[in-house]
């Protein structure tokens, strides 16, 4: 089934979509491109501005389409880009088994006229393919302008830094107040108090720290009542450490990432210090969480199956909850070869997907063994970043046990450790030997992401 470029032009809502699509109609932007045997469906993954790629799919029979990006334009530039790739045969669309995510979309589609050409619905100005193709030449810049711009940027940076430092002063003041007022009162009223200081931090450009403090009450309430004073000391103390670290090195990208904002994708990709790792990766799990600040965080945990590079990678994206539910990008258990670039850090974890090959079932590597004793794995990351909350680790052979109250524990087979589990464990995971597991140690509790068992690889718990 073939489409021509005219159809892409008609489908686009406006000239800027078409222009953006022209920029995406390049092989380097895409991975996992394929089409169904009958030629009706095409799909691919397109690198967007986030860490996770977008899944893009289209039905060539009626040009119905879907993309997992949060854009409000329909169709978005990624869909147009995919159709463009197809219309001009820029990359081969190898016939393949329709992936489950494309079938799922197909099952949810309503009606046949899902995609009416935009021109029929609302004429949005003239659209023109030829203009869209023309790459605009970089305007030659006056050296004076450049210098002025740089000076402005430096000034802005300074102002931001000043604002953050002021906000951190307010934070320390607030922490001191919580101690003076008593942590028992803080624990009872944590949500409201944290909201207030978080709002102050947002004003002070410390947005990441604000998000962290907004989530603090939830982490505290997850603990047993008797353990909350200790939990509060740990949480508040980490904030002091982070504030002090920022004061000492306000330009340090890693600390800035924990306080203010993260670098953009382009900055990380252009950074020669950012480690690039070509490896075999297994998708451990995807965690989607709606945060109190109205953002949804989408975290994909990857396990590095090769011997070199960081053991884990975390692909983290945020999008507004109002953008609606977003489809998963990966299937847990899926394995692929890919190049990842890590945000520069003493212990690289957060990463971006640079390029990836289609899922590869020939990657049969065993899970690596844990890197050391479990007590080390739980605490080593704290030496470099004492404010860290989530510590991913591999667990050795062990088993789930339960106490009299029904709470779950993970117990090592050699009895060297017994760790409390966050949430409950039901079904298979509670009734089998666990030969190895990937987990996150967070707030003194363990969340199992995936496990190797005599029944094969199984998912973790809720």
């Amino acid at each position: 089934m073939a489409i021509d470029l005219k159809a892409v032009e008609q489908l686009a809502t406006d000239q800027s979509s078409l222009k953006a699509a022209a920029g995406l109609a390049k092989p380097a932007k895409w991975s996992g491109v394929g089409g169904s045997q009958d030629g009706a469906l095409i799909w691919g993954e397109c690198a967007g501005s986030g860490a996770n790629p977008y899944r893009v799919m289209a039905d060539l029979r009626d040009l119905g389409n879907k993309c997992t990006c949060p854009s409000r334009k329909f169709p978005c530039k990624h869909v147009l880009g995919l159709l463009w790739l197809n219309a001009e045969s820029i990359v081969p669309f190898a016939p393949a088994e329709t992936p489950a995510w494309v079938s799922d979309w197909l099952g949810r589609r309503r009606g046949t006229s899902a995609a009416k050409p935009a021109s029929a619905a609302a004429p949005a100005g003239e659209k023109d393919l030829r203009t869209a193709r023309i790459a605009e030449p970089e305007a030659a810049e006056d050296p004076k302008d450049a210098a002025r711009r740089e000076a402005q940027a430096a000034k802005r940076n300074e102002e931001t830094e000043r604002a953050i430092l002021d906000a951190l002063d307010a934070l320390e003041q607030w922490i001191g107040d919580q101690l003076r007022l008593g942590l028992s009162g803080f624990i009872d009223d944590a949500t409201a108090r944290c909201r207030r200081i978080a709002a102050r931090l947002v004003d002070g450009k410390a947005a990441v720290l604000a998000g962290r403090i907004d989530e603090l009450p939830a982490r505290l309430l997850a603990l047993a009542a008797g353990d909350r004073p200790r939990g509060a000391v740990v949480e508040l103390g980490k904030l002091v450490l982070l504030a002090r670290a920022f004061r000492a090195t306000p330009r340090d990208a890693e600390i800035r990432r924990a306080v203010a904002t993260s670098e953009t994708r382009e900055t990380v990709l252009a950074d020669p210090q950012a480690p690039r790792v070509n490896g075999h990766w297994e998708v451990l799990a995807e965690q989607v969480q709606t945060r109190r600040d109205g953002l949804v965080s989408q975290t994909t945990w990857l396990l590095n199956l090769t011997a070199h590079g960081p053991r884990f990678a975390m692909l983290l994206d945020f999008f507004p909850a109002s953008a609606g539910r977003r489809g998963s990008v990966f299937t847990p258990g899926e394995r692929f070869r890919a190049e990842l670039v890590f945000y520069p850090s003493q212990q690289p974890l957060r990463a971006l997907l640079v390029r990836r090959d289609a899922a590869d079932e020939t990657l049969t590597d065993e899970w690596p063994a844990p890197d050391g004793p479990i007590s080390d794995a739980l605490t080593r990351p704290l030496l470099a970043e004492p404010w860290t909350i989530d510590i991913p680790l591999l667990l050795p052979r062990g088993r789930i046990a339960r106490d009299d109250a029904g709470h779950a524990w993970w117990r090592a087979a050699d009895d060297t450790a017994t760790l409390p589990i966050a949430g409950s464990v039901e079904g298979l995971l509670a009734g089998t030997e666990v030969m190895g597991a990937a987990a996150i140690w967070s707030g003194n509790r363990l969340t199992i992401l995936a496990a190797q068992t005599p029944w094969g690889r199984i998912a973790g718990h809720d």
Partner: protein, 481 residues
């Protein structure tokens, strides 16, 4: 912090001992620096700053070294046992998961699980496991049901499994394993199963008695009459009494007809028709008021086939033969219910054959659970071929063990293809019909159906074809009826 500990300036035990006091003071709102005098130099002289520094240090110490202490009594659940049938091949598990996820209710999940068991397979326990109380789960899952019961009950030692059930080891079995063993025993030695039940019946509660008694439906015979009579007369639970009574009726031992039966007979009359070959017809009088409709239904619900036939002066088989079908659907349904609950196997077969001819195929659904799998398949195929029923109805008649050879050539298949080819066909049309087709087709038929449907324009990846694709790809290792 770590350096401080490692340089032996301060022993971790000393810090640990002080932490209790520090946290307590902060909890109450008091200053805590004085409780950690060993850090005097690190904390400095400014009292406000000292509290923040102590907070940072305590946070490190408590976060890195203090773990929640596990309670001494931790219980480990036993391994989930392997089942007697193999797990579906790894390559088909994603398809199984998708079908399970698409089925909104327990009933549609049960359909798939029954289908898999009939074809000789089970689910992977990570994809689906029955609850302890899931009485409808195929017997092959008994060990998993008991595992779930065990997990919920908090006992420490697993109980017995196997098929050597005796009065002595009765209590060593969990309910699902016991049920499976009892079903096995009933098939091998019906009398022994009944004797075992007689010995243990009184010690079970009413719900359990009801479930156990229903197991005697299989291989029901005259040998069971005295046990059933004692239950019908003496059991404490009305539900058990009613079931025993209806099972007795199936054996031709109906209770003495009461006064009501004459009132019920008043709603019907037996007439003759034809001049040469005079035959009898049961004429159904139309009730005149809603109250009369209600009354007739209540009376039908409260009787049995033999008594009802007797009140009309007919033998049960004559009543079934002379019934005027398709005139009064409510009366038809009432009679079918009587037959399925209190009729003998022969009467049931007679009724099924008659209604199959009378284009009242829907009524067979009510009789189907008591028909043998081969019979069910036959009636489903006949319904598809001769009476134009859809695949959903056919699947209800045929049950989980169905393996229809060529369902697509029936009118339902032709109609489906025509509808799917229509220009205004929507992507979600006929999902239930296609799913039912996937459940009732034999493996080869499923493959052929896939070809014809994709030939008609459905995409290979269309999720409506999931059940057909699973059927086509799954080797049929089940016992054929």
């Amino acid at each position: 912090m770590t350096e401080i500990i490692e340089s032996n300036v301060i022993k971790p035990e000393a810090i640990f001992d002080a932490m209790g006091a520090v946290v307590t003071r902060w909890t109450m709102g008091a200053t805590a620096a004085s409780a950690a005098s060993f850090w005097r130099a690190e904390l400095g002289d400014d009292p406000v700053e000292a509290e923040l520094r102590l907070l940072a240090l305590s946070s490190q110490f408590l976060g890195a070294t203090v773990m929640t202490e596990p309670p001494s009594a931790l219980r480990v659940l036993p391994d989930i046992p392997a089942l007697a049938l193999p797990i579906v091949p790894e390559t088909l598990r994603p398809l199984v998961r998708r079908i399970l996820a698409a089925g909104k209710d327990a009933a549609s999940k049960a359909e798939l699980v029954d289908f898999l068991a009939a074809r000789g397979w089970t689910t992977h326990p990570a994809d689906w496991m029955p609850d302890a109380s899931d009485e409808d789960a195929p017997d092959v899952y008994a060990a998993w049901r008991d595992w779930a019961a065990f997990a919920a009950a908090g006992e420490l030692t697993p109980r017995q499994t196997g098929d050597q059930l005796t009065p002595e080891n009765w209590d060593d079995f969990w309910p699902a394993a016991r049920k499976a063993a009892l079903i096995g025993l009933r098939r091998r030695d019906p009398s022994a199963a009944r004797a075992l039940l007689e010995a243990k019946f009184g010690s079970e509660n009413a719900d359990a008695r009801l479930r156990l008694l229903s197991l005697l439906s299989d291989r029901l015979s005259g040998d069971d009459v005295s046990f059933l009579e004692s239950l019908a007369a003496n059991d404490r639970a009305p539900k058990v009494k009613a079931l025993a009574t209806s099972m007795l009726a199936r054996l031709g031992h109906g209770p003495a007809a009461g006064d009501d039966i004459a009132e019920l007979a008043g709603f019907f009359s037996v007439k003759t028709k034809g001049l040469l070959r005079r035959s009898r017809v049961v004429h159904i009088e139309t009730p005149k008021t809603p109250a009369q409709w209600q009354r007739r239904k209540a009376l039908l619900d409260g009787t049995d086939l033999t008594s009802f036939a007797g009140a009309l002066g007919l033998a049960p088989q004559d009543l079934i033969g002379a019934w005027d079908w398709n005139v009064d659907p409510a009366a038809d349904a009432g009679l079918i219910k009587l037959i399925s609950e209190t009729g003998t196997d022969a009467q049931l077969a007679q009724a099924a054959a008659i209604i199959s001819e009378h284009d009242a195929t829907g009524l067979i659904v009510a009789l189907a659970p008591r028909l043998a799998p081969a019979e069910r398949t036959r009636f489903a195929a006949a319904g598809l071929r001769a009476h134009g029923i859809g695949f959903e109805m056919a699947q209800l008649i045929a049950g989980p063990a169905a393996r229809l050879d060529d369902p697509m050539s029936a009118p339902a298949g032709t109609k489906l293809l025509a509808e799917l080819r229509r220009d205004d066909a929507k992507p979600s049309d006929y999902a239930a019909e296609l799913h039912a087709l996937g459940l009732l087709a034999a493996q080869t038929a499923a493959r052929q159906a896939l070809q014809r449907l994709t030939g008609a324009g459905l995409l290979q990846g269309d999720p409506r074809l999931d059940m057909l694709r699973l059927n086509a790809a799954l080797d049929d290792k089940g016992e054929k009826p």
